[in-house]
């Protein structure tokens, strides 16, 4: 079966026709994301933020996919997609605030839904956003992010089926990072590939080397073009690997073979691969690289400081946004809590 589902690679081939400045930008954003995740893990260890889900190792998938979109497209993310959202325009300070327990999700004024913690149940929203774009006569699309584990949920199925029936302009971007917490991909489903699940819905399915940022950029670009032409949805399986823990609360050494991890870390790191490629094609020097890394650190430092500078939250905040038109009960409930707080 897998010969019918070839894995697209670009970095291993010749020169890419992606403009040099875009290639460079992809590399910079991967470094920014990696640096941010490392910093966040540190902040968590210091007790300055709570549980955090790093995307270490998945930078090519996150960054390459999001760069292939327009700002007017909808991003529908899972909890691990601060990388894609950052590319779409999300300030990193929002990510810090989220991890500080000050926002329930990565929310923003962008064309993006807030990050969704329940697995795969956000996929139908992407279909709805795509249907809305269709009915409103735009050529915008929606792209949902989720993991290999997410393919098992019923909502994955319902979303892809609806998308097929309505030929909705939606991309289902599945980061197959090998694991759903401790459950390996092979125990998640008996299908040989995840891309082949597209067959069930009469829609397009693609596999891509998810640690090859140019390949990811290309495959999403193609799916987006198809969607905008009215040719319907695409399921993309991006083959990558989570180099870190599931979240800072997880210990992957309990369940994951050390050799597997070593292999991915040493020979398939997406940043090293892109860095090597850029250098080989004369698009990056060691000094550039140094400067990019320093700029990332500086930017992250500023974002963390911005987040930490905010005043403590007030009780009213949890009532504020639940409804646009809140019921009378809210005022009473809020007052009672405020009174207890002021007494306590």
């Amino acid at each position: 079966m897998s010969e019918r589902w070839p894995v697209l690679e670009v970095l291993s081939g010749g020169a890419s026709d992606v403009p040099a400045e875009v290639q460079r930008r992809l590399y910079e954003d991967m470094i920014l994301l990696r640096s941010f995740d490392e910093r966040a893990i540190n902040l968590q260890r210091q007790g300055r933020i709570g549980t955090f889900p790093p995307s270490l190792g998945q930078e090519a998938s996150e960054i390459g996919s999001a760069h292939a979109l327009r700002r007017s497209d909808w991003v529908v993310p899972s909890y691990r997609d601060h990388g894609a959202l950052m590319v779409h325009g999300l300030p990193l300070s929002n990510v810090v605030l989220f991890a500080m327990g000050r926002t329930p999700s990565l929310s923003s004024a962008l064309r993006a839904l807030p990050t969704s913690i329940p697995i795969a149940t956000h996929l139908p929203h992407a279909v709805g956003l795509a249907v809305a774009a269709q009915k409103l006569g735009t050529d915008d699309l929606a792209m949902a992010y989720f993991g290999d584990g997410g393919t098992s949920e019923g909502d994955f199925h319902e979303a892809l089926n609806f998308a097929g029936v309505y030929k909705a302009p939606v991309i289902f971007f599945c980061q197959n990072n090998g694991w759903a917490i401790s459950v390996p991909r092979a125990r998640q489903t008996a299908s040989e590939t995840l891309a082949q699940k597209a067959v069930a819905y009469g829609i397009a399915g693609r596999r891509v080397d998810g640690n090859d940022v140019l390949a990811v950029y290309q495959v999403v670009g193609e799916a987006a073009a198809r969607a905008r032409r009215g040719e319907g949805p695409t399921l993309i399986e991006s083959l990558t690997y989570r180099l870190g823990p599931h979240t800072t609360a997880d210990d992957p050494s309990r369940y994951r073979p050390a050799e597997e991890y070593q292999d991915w870390k040493e020979s398939r790191d997406p940043i090293q691969r892109m860095g090597g490629y850029l250098m080989a094609h004369g698009l990056l020097t060691a000094e550039d690289d140094q400067a990019i890394r320093q700029a990332a650190q500086d930017r992250i430092q500023a974002e963390v400081e911005a987040a930490e500078a905010l005043a403590p939250v007030e009780p009213g905040g949890m009532f504020q946004y639940v409804f646009r038109q809140p019921p009378g009960d809210f005022a009473i409930q809020q007052r009672r809590i405020e009174e207890a707080v002021s007494r306590g």
């Binding site: 909808w74 529908v76 926002t103 329930p104 999700s105 929310s107 923003s108 004024a109 839904l113 807030p114 969704s116 329940p118 149940t121 956000h122 996929l123 139908p124 929203h125 992407a126 279909v127 709805g128 956003l129 795509a130 249907v131 809305a132 774009a133 009915k135 409103l136 929606a142 019923g154 909502d155 319902e158 979303a159 089926n161 609806f162 029936v165 949890m318 504020q320 946004y321 639940v322 409804f323 646009r324 038109q325 019921p327 009378g328 009960d329």
Partner: protein, 326 residues
Amino acid sequence: MAERNMIGAINLTLDQLLAEDARVMVFGEDVGKNGGVFRATEHLQERHGEGRVFDTPLAESGILGMAIGMAVGGLKPIAEIQFMGFLYPGLDQLMSHAGRLAARSQGQVNVPLVVRVPFGGGIRAPEQHADSIEALLVHTPGLKVVVPSTPYDAKGLLTAALDDPDPVVVMEPIRLYRMGRQEVPDGRYTVPLGSARVARAGRSLTVITWGNMVAVALDAAQALAAQGEADIEVLDLRSLYPLDREAIGESVNKTGRAVVLHEAPMTGGLGGEVVAAIQETAFWSLEAPVERVTGPDVPYPPYAWEDFYLPNRERLVEAVRRTLKD
């Protein structure tokens, strides 16, 4: 203005809402050509086209999840779930998402979604075609829940639900769809969310209820009045969330006695909330314990048992008598 039954009022309302705003979309299982299993959407596809009124695949979570996305994306979706007993596979979308997206996004996103769900018993339907799960929805933060018991309110509440910027579930009592007609204005009007209706004014005791059971309450009230036994006030809640706690308090403070009536099973039913609301707003006026007359704690039974399951006039009258005796 014409006399209409409830299903006619709903069909008219949908037709008008579709006509007045191109963003309104009506969809669900069998709502298109078939016009809905209860005919609530009859002729709407013909009139407004397949782009506006359309069938979905058979998947409730998909329907509601897509509807959420459509609402966020700038449309005004009105989704139909065929029967409340088939809302279960779609509950997650209401509970994990519709009710949370506004808070989750800190107000960046809101979900102006309307879900219509026929519910309740009394029509001798097969299993799982008669469930009433208002208590589950009312306990879901971020949702609003309304339930008309007259054609007039059906139109006014549905219009108000569409106007409301938050997600609203409109529960439609199946048994009342074709039971009785009423003058329903042709023009647009709303019945505000959160306001109960005194369906019958009275002085001796308040029966608090909604949906199908309003008819049972009015019937019992009439019987008791005819026999000169009692002068019952009937409060039709109409809006279950927000709950009109003021109207509850006002009525019970006046009458001093109350019975809560609903068809869902007793334990964990919304009756408990109403009893607590009475406790909180009218304790010092209470002259007798508040009784609940409800369905028993069993799955809605096959129809040979339906008349035993559903609260009826006899059971309500007995409860009223007990409550008046104390």
